[in-house]
Amino acid sequence: MVNKEEKNQLIIIMKNILDTQNKSNLMPFKHLFKDTIPIVLYTNPDCSPYFCDFTFASEEIRSCFFRIEEITNSAVSLTPLLPLNEEGKYNNTESNPCGLKKTSVKVSLPLHQLSAIQCLDPKLVNRKIIRVDQK
């Protein structure tokens, strides 16, 4: 379990992430910051990654990758990100996606359940992957 101070730190970090994402829409920061900083959230009591199951484009999806949308006093609002393999298709494994894609789904997670956060490379979002076949 995380203590109150650690919890406050976690909230500060999430607010910083949200702030950076929001700045990406402002002219001076447009090319400096990315619109989405993908994250993985870890929850109490065993610090396991938080997974969200949802339906997207008629497909059953399970993802532990999110975009922070809003932070209130008690909860964080998230958009699950679709993990993709190198072919740009849904990757149903929980580790090392080749890319991530924003979904239209929204979920909310109570802050008291959180124990840790991990940021991922923003380049993963809407990553362009070229397939080079041998002729």
């Binding site: 992957i129 080079v132 041998q134």
Partner: protein, 405 residues
């Protein structure tokens, strides 16, 4: 301790296999290398007993280190290199120590395309060529020489198709000469462009006798540069065809008065006449040693070491198979994200070996030299066409996933 010193090596391919062969023969192997990444990844080289980081251009430092090895009780029996342009340096060091059966002068000429052309000038096998020297006036040269285009413009010293340019007019010629001069070349060679099938000939010379070890047909792709993307060892050759090759190679080797060693030549058959594209004083790099081993059961790198030790090589063909190697390239530029897993390829019929040097994060691009080939597939069969088909079919299963830069 019986020791063989190697002057540089690549991480894989023929030069590394030579070190493995020396270790297998029971020698203590010492590698002199200017490549710091080899020292940093020392555990990747268990066949190399001692690795010395050194500037190979510093001849005195090489001599000092060899002397030091001797003082440590190592009995140096050979100093060899399978890497351009160090073959003649290894031979020179060996001669000075009185342990080499290789002479450095022919190797020094072979390692320089300009010196080679000058040396072979007048032989029917030698294509027409001209030389542009750094001190020449390009304007004067272009206005006073009527060239027959297309031409091949190349650096005298580079290897692996680096700086070999095809030019079709005066503007391209001027640009090519300037490009090569700006890279520090003192001489630029201009050769007639020859059309016809190209063959690579692997040879050994022992006590002045020439042995044709393998004849390999090359598949050349032109994408900005000439890149060999396929090699096929011809298991059965028409005796007349082979005799023609032998006579041609023999006429070239004789001019160098080479008594011992191994070389490979690239010959092109132009309207029934053999023309020398290039000669190099060593076995071809990359997959060649493995290919010859699969085709004939001969480890040519090992046999070359035997020659360096003054022993007769065993070049008896244990079997005959057509072997085709298909090289993998990229026609796009980007950072590698993933490459197809090839673990299961060994179960494919005829597939002998798959090698991919790409790792996640590496940058790939369309080939500008042979070094820009990112792997290969070797297939073997009793038929030439089948070996080619098997390798190419397997290659189609391989995909590079890259992110544009």
């Amino acid at each position: 301790m019986r020791t063989i010193v190697f002057i540089d090596s690549n991480k894989s391919g023929s030069s590394r296999e030579a070190i493995k062969a020396a270790a297998k023969l029971g020698f203590y192997t010492v590698l002199f290398t200017p490549r710091m990444r080899f020292i940093e990844n020392r555990t990747d080289f268990p066949d190399i007993h001692q690795m010395i980081y050194i500037d190979i251009a510093d001849y005195q430092a090489l001599k000092n280190n060899i002397k030091k090895l001797g003082n440590e009780g190592k009995k140096i029996e050979a100093i060899v290199s399978f890497i351009d342009p160090y073959v003649h340096i290894a031979a020179k060091l060996g001669c000075e120590l009185g342990i080499s059966s290789f002479s450095s002068k022919p190797y020094e000429i072979m390692e320089n395309k300009w010196l080679t052309r000058e040396h072979l000038q007048g032989l029917p096998v030698s294509p027409d060529f001209k030389t542009f020297h750094q001190s020449d006036s390009l304007e004067w040269y272009l206005s006073h020489h009527k060239e027959q285009f297309p031409l091949i413009v190349k650096s005298a010293v580079s290897t692996g198709s680096k700086d070999v340019l095809l030019v079709k007019n005066k503007t391209q010629l001027a640009k090519a000469i300037n490009t090569l001069l700006s890279k520090g070349n003192n001489e630029v060679l201009m050769e007639e462009y020859l059309e016809g099938p190209q063959y690579l000939i692997e040879t050994c010379i022992y006590n002045g006798e020439l042995y044709i070890v393998a004849v390999i047909q090359q598949e050349i792709t032109f994408i900005k540069r000439f890149i060999v993307t396929g090699y096929c060892i011809l298991a059965n050759l028409d005796p007349e065809f082979l005799y023609g090759i032998y006579q041609t190679v023999s006429s070239i080797i004789n001019t160098f008065q080479l008594q011992n060693g191994s070389c490979h030549l690239e010959l092109r058959l132009v309207n029934g006449s053999w023309k020398l594209i290039e000669i190099n004083p060593r076995i071809s790099g990359g997959a060649m040693n493995r290919m010859i081993e699969i085709a004939y059961g001969i480890n040519l790198a090992e046999e070359t070491i035997k020659i360096a030790l003054g022993k007769k090589p065993n070049l008896e063909k244990k079997h005959r198979k057509f072997v085709y190697t298909h090289y993998l390239t990229s026609d796009e530029t980007g950072t590698v994200i993933k490459v197809t897993d090839t673990k299961s390829f060994s179960t494919m019929p005829g597939i002998q070996e798959v090698f991919i040097k790409l790792k996640k994060g590496m940058v790939v691009h369309p080939p500008l030299s042979m070094g820009d080939r990112y792997g290969y597939i070797i297939a073997a069969s009793d038929s030439k066409n089948e070996a080619i088909r098997l390798a190419k079919e397997a290659a189609k299963e391989i995909t590079f996933y890259i992110e544009p830069i």
